[in-house]
Symmetry: C2
Subunit: 429 residues, 2 copies
């Protein structure tokens, strides 16, 4: 996961054309480039409406939330309530499949580029855990050691595999249910992936891969080989120990929206291979401490909150580096209030504070200027510290035996999972 | 194996330039294009001297034969005595490694494009069996199901794997020793291949692959991914169950010369990966029944001798279709004799008649016009029938249990094999 995704060149162009009629200032604000390598945007952050149009995804709406509440009997996750997971492909089809007893499974992943996760990495895992629990779904999690090896010149094969192993422990610590979760590294599970990898690689021309990812002839052969490896877990017959003879079980992939090109490509090929198209449910980026113009990156240690940070480090990073939407001076702040849209502490609270009413209260207090920047930073540090502390408690307890358990090739059988006995029909979209 | 190999474009050009000073008629004779897809040559066949120059290999000479006889205590195989295996890379290094107790192993393979082998496919296996026996060497044999799947549009993944399985039985029937031989399909053994596949793929740019194989952007991604899969068995750490902790055991690859581009590339990368460069020992092509301008092809059923043919079919194919070097009329033949160089029955005898003196007698009788075309065709049919009948006897006895035995992941331990305890130094060439 987290691969070298780039929108098709024509889509980048389209984006530029869209803003051609705007004034120069507006242009500067909305100018953006979203790839898995980098997220560049203006100070007001990524224009997600534009991204949905570019990629051709659909917006998650009130009806989806109502349906999810109906099917799970629970209030939808705050990431859904607050439009953090905001975009999808074939979500309706997956929900319908669940409702009619056919079921679906979840697939997510991680590229082990560092031995410690940061808080941005947590978003898809938090959401996936919620989905697994709420719908009682089987879940597969892929560690793309190979991809990170191809894309990071200085990583050795052995090191990346070692980091992947450590990351499996980090992932387990999000609280996934071992009865329902299979975690695998591509390197170890490649024998099972390989039939679908080959089928994908045969169906993809170099032109296709270049078009989707923007590679050129100086890129290594592994980068061209890899997209098929990320695609393979989208098809249920990649997991015979989970799905047995059940064919074409639908798959839903929680992901940050920059992964969309991978699965747009996968969906195109699925059609050719007569496989069910995987669905996607897509999040906004977790913003960098320094502001909305980028997403959090593991390469900037001082401004990145790691899941291994202690409370003091968390507090320091937020207090010192978090971009504020508050006024320049106390007077200005009291008078005009804070701009919540660009205020990183407030934005972080939308990700991590569970209580809607308390969040609304803070929004009101802060935007009116009654609450000061120092205060909201403290609240933010407290909320994040609470999340990370709880995470670290679970992380400490994860053992090599747990890794053995989660990664062993075995049946996983959610009690109430409704797996189809017959091939599902092609997803409509 | 038998992949889409093409000499580098500049090499093809070089070949054309070499003959630019010749007369047009000479040009026509020597014009040739050698790829794994096709062998095009004039009526006098492939100019192997030119090919050695193009590819940058070395000719096998009398000293090699003397050394082989010294090391094995046996007369070198007729394929060596008759320059059918005529070219090499790092053969001296492998022989030296054997002589000094470091040892080496053999690697060959087959791409399962048809469920029945033809007699041309037998050549590398006959030679490899000789090498295994004479030197008492461990041997690995790769079935490149994936490669054939990528290169043959109409083959399904399941069919090609089924053909590969049948081909394993055909290969076992050449008489390989199960104590010394490990046979594997890429699809089944990919987990062990994958670390070296990834390392190769990272080290190869698209430009490299295009340069060696002549692919373009309309080719599928699998074709670009595959060369690394064929390369991986050249490195002994791909087989931990055979070589254990022994590092960089030298590898010698018996092959038809059209496979050279694969291993030229592999040798280049080996250097980057600090692996031992594999050696190669290379054969001429087994010519088509219809003449030296092509190699035998499985796609022309009437003029291809299959290892499943019965004596009547063999006789018919040779009598009806074998290109003759004899005179046009009986008178002309008696007067001028036969041209052995272009006579297919005689050429086939050089491959399959063991007795040097008898072969010399036939050459003398036939080239002088005393022996007639019908007579040499009969001798040829008899010799080939004997070979194929014996082969079929062995083939009948090969069981699913034999496949299980040869393909199981296990130690293989030739009694007298001298495997190095320490990494071998880099091959000089």
């Amino acid at each position: 996961m987290e691969p070298t995704t780039e929108p098709k060149p024509e889509e980048i162009t389209k984006s530029a054309e869209d803003s051609a009629s705007s004034t120069k200032e507006e242009e500067k604000k909305t100018e953006q480039k979203v790839t898995a390598f980098e997220v560049e945007a203006g100070e007001t952050g990524v224009d997600y409406n534009k991204l949905i149009d570019q990629f051709g995804c659909d917006r998650i709406n009130e009806k989806h939330l109502e349906k999810i509440e109906e099917l799970t009997g629970k209030k939808p996750h705050r990431f859904l309530r607050r439009e953090i997971f905001f975009s999808h492909r074939s979500l309706d089809w997956c929900l319908k499949s669940f409702e009619t007893g056919r079921g679906f499974y979840l697939y997510t992943g991680r590229g082990p580029s560092s031995s410690s996760l940061h808080i941005g990495h947590a978003i898809p895992f938090i959401f996936t855990k919620y989905m697994q629990e709420a719908f009682d779904l089987p879940l597969v999690i892929q560690l793309t050691d190979d991809e990170k090896f191809f894309h990071k010149q200085d990583l050795t094969f052995e090191n990346v595999h070692k980091m992947g192993y450590d990351n499996i422990k980090d992932i387990i610590a999000f609280g996934f249910d071992p009865e329902k979760t299979f975690i695998f590294s591509d390197i170890d599970y490649i024998k099972y992936l390989y039939p679908n990898v080959c089928k994908m690689q045969k169906a993809l021309t170099l032109n296709n891969v270049k078009g989707v990812f923007g590679f050129n002839d100086s890129d290594n052969a592994g980068k061209y080989a890899f997209p098929a490896v990320q695609a393979a877990p989208s098809f249920s017959n990649t997991f015979p120990h989970i799905f047995g003879k059940k064919k074409n079980v639908p798959c839903l992939i929680p992901q940050a929206i920059d992964q969309d090109p991978y699965f747009r490509m996968t969906r195109d090929i699925a059609k050719k291979l007569k496989y069910e198209k995987p669905g996607c449910i897509q999040s906004k980026f977790f913003p960098a401490i320094t502001g909305l113009s980028g997403k959090m990156s593991a390469s900037l240690a001082n401004t990145t909150i790691y899941l291994s940070d202690d409370p003091k480090q968390i507090k320091n990073k937020i207090k010192k580096h978090a971009k504020s939407g508050g006024g320049e001076t106390l007077e200005e702040h009291r008078e005009k209030g804070a701009n919540l849209e660009v205020d990183i502490p407030y934005q972080y609270l939308t990700f991590f504070m569970e209580d809607d009413e308390e969040l609304a209260r803070i929004a009101e207090e802060y935007s009116s200027g009654r609450m000061l920047t120092g205060e909201i930073k403290q609240i933010c540090a407290d909320v994040i510290t609470e999340f990370i502390t709880e995470y670290q408690e679970r992380r400490k307890k994860v053992t090599d035996e747990d890794v053995q358990l989660f990664t062993s090739i075995r049946p996983i059988n959610p009690k109430s999972s409704k797996m189809p006995e017959k091939p599902a029909e092609e997803a409509k979209k």
